[in-house]
Every structure is written in structure tokens, then in C-alpha cells.
């Protein structure tokens, strides 16, 4: 069989691999969360026993934890016994052509400038697109495997590279780290795995988007990225296209390991459904993302957050190795009734470690946007440096922006700087743009993108172009 055919077959028969049986009853786990649910999931995924034990341990931990309360977020607490924790991945609904796809979605695609072929793939249009994507995916995979790079689903990694998974899973985000990481550890469905061998510079952006043909990863996603010594990778998560999901609660975990002299750039654009104007039906997004930096290594988080009804997310770096560098660049937009509580933690353990935080919060409508950041310098972190800049931009008078910087410094030689500003989009600025012929919505897009410029500049080129338009669209109608 030709390589291409193989992949096509793999793609089309994927359901079997995941234990799909025609019997409807066994397709889903029972509602609710017990040890049996976890055994069921693990068995369905044909997992080794160490992983089942690991999940069970996480479950015990989770049972003893309480769901946290945060000052600036309020939402009805999910009922954890009312969730189905395992459903055999179903293929997305397929359409014959773009004509069948919701015109609203297409309109958004068009305005985002998503190429037509990608539009089809994203909207789940059948046949030709699948073929197309398969060939793209094939060349992509060939190139990567030549270099020894592993980029696959988490489930696949458990089967194919158990030694790597076992060594690193939970090594950066321990099970008991927080309520949601414990829950994720117990019930995670699938996710991505990536390994870059020693000294290899990954020649292309690794995008989750390219791993098509792969089943829906579900609401408890888990990602593990390992950059071996002296390697480099730029990893993209998510896409600008609006994403809807039946599952309201999403609790993902991302772990990054940057070994000596490695560099990992992790970019996210998050555009989950934020709910309607009154905030109904939006996604709750509780994410734990953390990386550990060994000697002379660097992890850089860049995120553009525009979606979800509730976002709770603090991509963090543990700067363990001497001379390691952590960066966090974030744009978080909230509109209507959205609530976001995001920020980062930079934990300086090694000597001469450096971290940079640039956070841009934009609030419109009646939304609440909080930055929460911790810079911690341990005793041994001689010569540590941090620079933080947190800027908030308010659109209208009913929204809120809050900044909570926490600094814990135990080393006298460390230098920690924090700058914060809050500004409003001024009538003056809008009028100036209007007078030049620029409509208000566009003017807001322009001003907001200007405000976020030094974050957006960190996104890979194509991502940045889409993200810019996304900002415009998500703030439409927020004035006047």
C-alpha cells in the first residue's frame, strides 16, 4: 500500500483504534465520576497499567480538593457528576460543500481571511478537503520524522513512546497542583505530544491545526512538549476560527520541558464561544499551562485570548536552570459578559534567570478582565531579573480592569520591575479616526491593535494577521 493510502485508511478507520463499537451503550461512559469511570476510560484507550494507576492517584487527590473561588470570577459551579467523561470520538459532522455550512460561520471565516481550503477543513466539509489535508499532513509528517521529531496525539504517544510519557507526565504540573489539573490528570481524554531531539531546530511551526484527521480531543485536553538539549520549536495551539463545543467545561493541562539550551515558543489563539450577549451558553475555560526551563533554556508564551465566557489561565515558567529565560506576552479581550482572569507565574530558582511579562487587557461591554501575576525569586536566584508591564484598555464605562501583581523576592541581588497603566479609548482618538474616514468599529480595531502591538509582534506572521482581524471582530459594536 502506498504511504498516502495508508494514511487515508488510518484516518477513515480511526474510530476503531479508539475502541469504537457499534453498540451504542458502550460508546460512552456512565455519567459521573468514580474510580470505575477512570478504569473504563483507561481500558478503552488501551493504556498501560502505570497510566491507569497514575490516573487513579490523581482522582484520589481531586476528591480531597475543593473547587477554588476567585475574587473576580463568578459563574454557576459545574456539576461534576453530570458530565460524561468518556465518549468515543465521533467524526465531526461532514458537509458535502460549503453551501451547507452555517453562513454566519462562513462570514467570520471570510472576514478573518481564512483561505477557502482551510475554511472547508475547519467547517468539516468532506471528501476533497480530507484528501487535500492528508497530502499536506503527509509531507509534513515525512519532513518531521526525517529529523526525528515526534508530533502526534497524546494517545498515540502513550502507545508508541511510553517511556517519554511516563518520564515527563506530571513533572511540571503535578496532579495536586490545583483542582482542575487534578481533574484533568484523572480523566484527560487526549491531546498533543511533541518531542524535539537533541540539537534539532524544528523547521516549521508545529500547529495543532495540522494534526487533522484526529478525533476531537474533548474537554480535558493534555499536551506534553519536550525540547531536548539545544533544540528549538515553535508551537501553535488553536486557531482564530470561532469554536463551539457542546461541552461547557474545558480544563486543559499543558506541560513544557525545555532541557539545557533548548528554546520553546508556544503561541495560542483562543476563540472559544463566549456565549451570547447575556453570557448564556459560553465555554468555561480553566487551563493549567506551565513550562520548566533548564540551564540556558528559554520558554516564551504568547497568547491571544478572545473567547470563552470564563477564562482562568496562567501560563507559567519555572526557571530552574541558571541563565534560563521565561517570557509571557498576552492579549486578553473581554466583551459583553465575559470574564477573564489571566496572567502568569515566573518562578526564579536558578542564577541570572530572566523573565519578561507583557500583558495587555482590553475590556468592553460589561466584561471583567483581570491580570494576576506572580514573580517569585528564590533565595538561590542570584542576579535574577524581571520586568513586568501590564496595560489595560477600557472601552466604555461599564467594564472593569483589575491588576493583581504579586512579588515574592528572597534574594537581595534580584531586580524586579513592574509597570502598569490603565487607559480608555478616548473620544478624541475615535473622532480623529472618524474624521479621516475610518468607521468606529475599524477605528477600535486599529487602536486596540496598536495597543497590543508589542505582544502581537511575537506571534508567527500568519497567526498574527488572523489574530489582528480577530481582535477587530471580537470588539465589534462595543462603542456607540
Amino acid at each position: 500500500m502506498k504511504e498516502e493510502d495508508k494514511i487515508i485508511e488510518e484516518a477513515t478507520s480511526g474510530e476503531y483504534k479508539y475502541g469504537f463499537v457499534s453498540d451504542i451503550e458502550s460508546e460512552k461512559s456512565q455519567k459521573g465520576l468514580t474510580e470505575d469511570t477512570i478504569r473504563f476510560i483507561s481500558e478503552k484507550k488501551n493504556e498501560p497499567s502505570w497510566l491507569l494507576d497514575w490516573r487513579l492517584k490523581a482522582f484520589k487527590v481531586w476528591e480531597q480538593m475543593e473547587e477554588p473561588d476567585w475574587a473576580h470570577i463568578s459563574y454557576p459551579k459545574p456539576d461534576f457528576q453530570d458530565i460524561i467523561y468518556y465518549a468515543a470520538p465521533k467524526p465531526k459532522k461532514k458537509y458535502e460543500s460549503l453551501d451547507e455550512v452555517d453562513p454566519e460561520i462562513l462570514k467570520t471565516f471570510e472576514r478573518l481571511g481564512v483561505p477557502i481550503e482551510e475554511q472547508k477543513a475547519l467547517a468539516g466539509v468532506a471528501v476533497d478537503v480530507v484528501m487535500d489535508s492528508v497530502s499536506v499532513a503527509t509531507t509534513f509528517k515525512d519532513k518531521l520524522s526525517e529529523l526525528g521529531i515526534i508530533f502526534c496525539s497524546f494517545s498515540e504517544a502513550v502507545q508508541e513512546h511510553p517511556e517519554l510519557v511516563q518520564k515527563y507526565i506530571g513533572s511540571v504540573v503535578p496532579q495536586r497542583d490545583n483542582f482542575y489539573s487534578a481533574l484533568n490528570s484523572a480523566v484527560f481524554s487526549d491531546g498533543s505530544f511533541c518531542y524535539i531531539p537533541k540539537g534539532v531546530r524544528c523547521p516549521m511551526e508545529l500547529s495543532t491545526y495540522f494534526r487533522i484527521n484526529e478525533a476531537n480531543t474533548g474537554q480535558f485536553e493534555r499536551t506534553l512538549i519536550i525540547a531536548d538539549e539545544g533544540s528549538y520549536v515553535s508551537y501553535l495551539e488553536g486557531c482564530t476560527a470561532p469554536q463551539r463545543d457542546e461541552n461547557q467545561l474545558h480544563a486543559a493541562v499543558v506541560e513544557i520541558i525545555a532541557l539545557d539550551r533548548a528554546e520553546v515558543k508556544y503561541s495560542t489563539v483562543q476563540n472559544w464561544y463566549p456565549g451570547d450577549k447575556k453570557g448564556r451558553g459560553g465555554i468555561y475555560n480553566f487551563v493549567t499551562k506551565r513550562g520548566i526551563c533548564h540551564h540556558h533554556s528559554k520558554i516564551s508564551w504568547t497568547q491571544v485570548e478572545t473567547g470563552s465566557a470564563v477564562t482562568w489561565k496562567y501560563p507559567s515558567c519555572i526557571l530552574k536552570g541558571d541563565h534560563s529565560v521565561g517570557e509571557f506576552f498576552s492579549v486578553a479581550v473581554t466583551n459583553n459578559m465575559q470574564q477573564a482572569d489571566t496572567g502568569t507565574k515566573m518562578i526564579h530558582l536558578g542564577k541570572n534567570t530572566k523573565s519578561t511579562i507583557v500583558s495587555k487587557g482590553i475590556s468592553a461591554g460589561k466584561s471583567q478582565n483581570s491580570y494576576r501575576g506572580l514573580v517569585k525569586v528564590a533565595k538561590g536566584a542570584q542576579g535574577a531579573r524581571n520586568f513586568s508591564q501590564c496595560d489595560s484598555l477600557l472601552i466604555g464605562a461599564k467594564c472593569g480592569a483589575h491588576t493583581f501583581p504579586y512579588i515574592e523576592c528572597q534574594n537581595k541581588s534580584a531586580k524586579v520591575e513592574h509597570e502598569a497603566t490603565t487607559s480608555k479609548i478616548g473620544e478624541d482618538q475615535l473622532f480623529y479616526c472618524n474624521q479621516r474616514g475610518i468607521k468606529t468599529d475599524k477605528a477600535i480595531g486599529l487602536i486596540v491593535n496598536g495597543f497590543c502591538k508589542n505582544v502581537m509582534d511575537n506571534l508567527p506572521m500568519e497567526f498574527a494577521i488572523e489574530a489582528k482581524k480577530l481582535l477587530e471582530i471580537s470588539l465589534e459594536g462595543s462603542v456607540g
Binding site: G426, E427, D428, Q429, F431, Y432, C433, N434, Q435, R436, G437, I438, K439, T440, K442, L446, I447, N449, G450, F451, C452, K453, N454
Partner: protein, 253 residues
């Protein structure tokens, strides 16, 4: 081209324009002079459609259209340009990106396609040279950290790019050094044609040596109280506004 009749406008309940009349025809340059606080910038703002000002009486027609009915960006689309007395800073938005957006928005309003990048760059170069705006300024954020004179020059640059039918220049000469004054005036003169018109607000007759007006109006307490030729500007420079006020009082008696 522009017909203002009995225009009254107020801000925060305070009447500023108190029945103003003005008619501008294509090919003309009108200078408006008047003491501080007499309402010159208010007039410019009302023409451009600033919301804070409420028009309580009178009418403004531009090329036969009721200007007061139009949103500010529509007025720009129709060809009204205001060079601001105090140009606004927009951090992070490059001058080029800003003017490109503006040019294309105005073109869209007029039913024209976006300019191709190449055409745009040619236009940009040409207009940049016209007002001797350095490439450095073009790449910086809109007006951010510009000196007073640089901001004014940037306004004229934008005007040149948008090629309006009616250009309203609010004290564009204030803060310009001698060379900049010459350059900016040269720019305006180059843009002048038989089809467009300029309303130039200024305190100094010096500007009018460069941009020669067909009419000089005196705006006093929300009304145009005197109209003359270029010589009126000279007279004002020499004698100030008191004599006009006196004249008016005598008329009343």
C-alpha cells in the same frame, strides 16, 4: 460648495456659535481670524461632525447635501478634511498603516477598490516629498512623541494623501518654524485647484503671505462679523480686534 446658514451650536448647554453664515465656492481660499475662544475650532468641529457639539439652529450644506445629517466618517468620504489644532496621538498604530486604512476607507465610501500596495507606495512617496515628511516619521506611531511642528506637518501630509474637496486647517501654522511654515504652505498651494477649497483658521497674517486668501473673515463671539480681502488680515495684525468690536457697538447704537 459649502453653505452655512444661521448656524447655532452649543456645548454642555453653552452657546458658542450664534448664527454663523459662510459660503465657500470651489477654487476659493477663506481665512478665518478671531480672538481666542471666539468659536473657530468649534466651527471646524461642527463641520467635521463632532458629537459633543449640538447644533440648535441653522443649516450646513456641502455640495448640495445636508452635511449635518452625515456621520463624521461619511463627511470625510464626501471630501471634508479637518487638520486639527491639536492632533491626537494613537500609540502603536504606524502612521503608514493609519493613512492606508483611511485612504482605503474613503475609497470604499466612494465605491472605489482598495489601492494596490504599489500604487499606495507611489502615492505615499509623492505626498511625503510634498511636505518633506521624513521616512522616519512615516514609520512611527501616529503623532506619538511628535513635536508640535511635526504633528502639524503630519496633518498636511494626511490631507495630501486624502485629497479632500474642502480642507479646514485649524491653526496649522501655530508652532511651525519658518521653514516648516513655507513647506506646509507650499504643500497646500500644490493641492489647491479650481475644484477644491480651503478654510484656513489662523491668528497670524504671516501664513496668508504664503497661502493667499480670497476672503478674510473675522469670527467674533460665535458670528462672522466682518469680511474683507487679504488686506483685512494686515489691518487686524496691526490693530487687533478692539476696533471691530467698537465698530459693531457703534452700529448697534
Amino acid at each position: 460648495m459649502l453653505k452655512i446658514k444661521g448656524l447655532k451650536a452649543e456645548i454642555e448647554g453653552k452657546e458658542i456659535l450664534k448664527g454663523l453664515n459662510l459660503e465657500v465656492n470651489p477654487g476659493e481660499v477663506h481665512a478665518i481670524m478671531g480672538p481666542n475662544g471666539s468659536g473657530k475650532s468649534t466651527l471646524a468641529s461642527v463641520l467635521a461632525g463632532r458629537e459633543e457639539y449640538e447644533v440648535t439652529a441653522g443649516s450646513v450644506h456641502f455640495e448640495g447635501k445636508d452635511l449635518l445629517e452625515l456621520a463624521p466618517e461619511e463627511r470625510a468620504g464626501e471630501g471634508v478634511f479637518l487638520a486639527f489644532q491639536y492632533p491626537v496621538e494613537i500609540p502603536g498604530v504606524s502612521n503608514i498603516n493609519f493613512i492606508k486604512t483611511a485612504v482605503n476607507e474613503v475609497r470604499e465610501y466612494r465605491g472605489l477598490p482598495n489601492l494596490e500596495t504599489k500604487e499606495f507606495m507611489t502615492l505615499l512617496k509623492e505626498k511625503q516629498q510634498l511636505v518633506e515628511l521624513s521616512g522616519k516619521l512615516a514609520n512611527r506611531s501616529v503623532n506619538e512623541g511628535f513635536s508640535g511642528g511635526e504633528k502639524k506637518r503630519n496633518e498636511i501630509f494626511q490631507m495630501a494623501m486624502l485629497d479632500p474637496k474642502l480642507g479646514v486647517l485649524d491653526e496649522t501654522d501655530s508652532g511651525l518654524d519658518i521653514d516648516a511654515l513655507r513647506i506646509v504652505s507650499h504643500g497646500v498651494n500644490e493641492l489647491k485647484s479650481k475644484d477644491n477649497a480651503f478654510v484656513v483658521v489662523t491668528h497670524y497674517q504671516r501664513l496668508l503671505d504664503y497661502i493667499v486668501p480670497d476672503y478674510v473673515h473675522v469670527l467674533l463671539d460665535g458670528k462672522i462679523v466682518k469680511t474683507g480681502s487679504k488686506e483685512l488680515a494686515l489691518e487686524l495684525e496691526e490693530k487687533g480686534y478692539d476696533w471691530i468690536i467698537k465698530e459693531l457697538e457703534e452700529e448697534k447704537l
